[in-house]
């Protein structure tokens, strides 16, 4: 801290004490679910939808919507943190653990790129998708995931800023190196840990 004080600023959106340790620095609590998307919202029909795991894998895998529905789903209660400063606490998605998808494909690289219908990409170390830290979700609060929030299916990686959870996700590409995705090329942080406030390139 540099000791700067904003003249006449009191701050009235303080977080209740019981929630304070769930709110990363620089974030505020938002009860709604804002929509922030680069470009128009893609239309993805479940009849055409597939999810792939490809790249550096022992065996490329692809699931249709129907096949995907046969995989083990679980409820995922979590807090989500958007780099544009809002956080949504205590919200529940439902989906398939990424562990299940990766195990089926035998990943051989240490990095992954999520890619989406519409062309969006985001990168992360593959270990951030493992051990119960990431899901491909198709429901939010008991309802099918709305299109504007990434329906029919989006990635959910709640321990990173939410741009690391690709909407309209079409697959994962396993890589032997870290390759910047859409926002990572355009000024947002390579990794994006909200607790370290890794928002932009030199954070």
């Amino acid at each position: 801290m540099n000791g700067f004080i904003s003249r006449g600023f009191g701050g009235h959106r303080r977080v209740p004490e019981e929630l304070a340790d769930r709110l990363p620095p620089g974030q505020y609590v938002e009860s709604g679910f804002p929509v922030l998307t680069a470009g128009p919202t893609p239309k993805v029909d479940t009849a055409d939808w597939t999810f792939r795991v490809d790249g550096m894998v022992g065996q490329e895998r692809e699931w249709t919507w129907e096949e995907f529905g046969q995989l083990p789903f679980e409820d995922v209660p979590c807090d989500i943190h958007c780099v544009t400063k809002w956080s949504k606490l205590g919200t529940t998605f439902r989906g398939v653990p990424v562990d299940v998808l990766l195990d089926a494909a035998e990943p051989l690289g240490a990095y992954a790129v999520q890619y989406s219908y519409g062309g969006y990409t985001t990168n992360l170390p593959i270990e951030d998708l493992m051990d119960g830290k990431a899901w491909v979700v198709t429901e939010h609060e008991g309802e099918p995931l709305p299109r504007e929030h990434g329906g029919p299916a989006r990635m959910l990686v709640p321990h990173l800023y939410f741009w690391k959870s690709a909407k309209w996700v079409a697959g994962l590409r396993v890589m032997d190196h870290d390759e910047p995705g859409f926002w990572e090329e355009r000024g947002y942080h390579e990794y994006g840990d909200p607790w370290k406030e890794q928002r932009y390139w030199n954070d």
């Binding site: 700067f4 701050g11 303080r14 620089g26 998307t37 932009y200």
Partner: protein
Amino acid sequence: MERLTPVEQKAPGRWQVATVAAIKPETPQVKSFRLQVPMWMAHLPGQHYDVRLTAPDGYQAQRSYSIASSPLEKGEIELTIDRLADGEVSPYFHDVVVEGDQVEVRGPFTSYFVWRGESPVLLVGGGSGVVPLMCMMRHRRLTMPELPMRLVYSVRKADDVIYADVIAEAGVDSGIGFVCGSNAFVETASQLLLDAGFDPQQIRTERFGPTG
């Protein structure tokens, strides 16, 4: 196109203390704040700054605001801020900040919703979504005034027109489209552009967060 002033995206600067040089009321709910920025860096038209307020006990609030001024206006940025009734940072700017005050800022940030001189250009703004588009218009006027650029600007009532001194003209054109406003506005407007034959890759959108 390098015909316009080339501006490279760099890693943005650290937090710095800017001084409010001028405040201009645009509408009853909107004011423009001209800030003198000591470690100024040229921005790409469409980029934003983060603003951080700190209370005496250390409590902080941060928000992002689009830049309305051209990067040719060196050493300064203009942030145009819509007062949100239930907001925390925008009412502070409207009700507390006076000329000469200091505010912490950091930027400029991100290079997706940016204009690098592509043409022809269609700008579609809803309410205060016109702010980053104004930066593009001002920069064009200073550099390539003959370059084809059109603005479609939607407001709820006549009083809500920001930058009333700038003439907006409607029109549909091919080329690149920038759409900025509330989510509902952007959804509808970008769908209309798709229907009009725009390539999805040539439509760049910026959406407001919580309000909609």
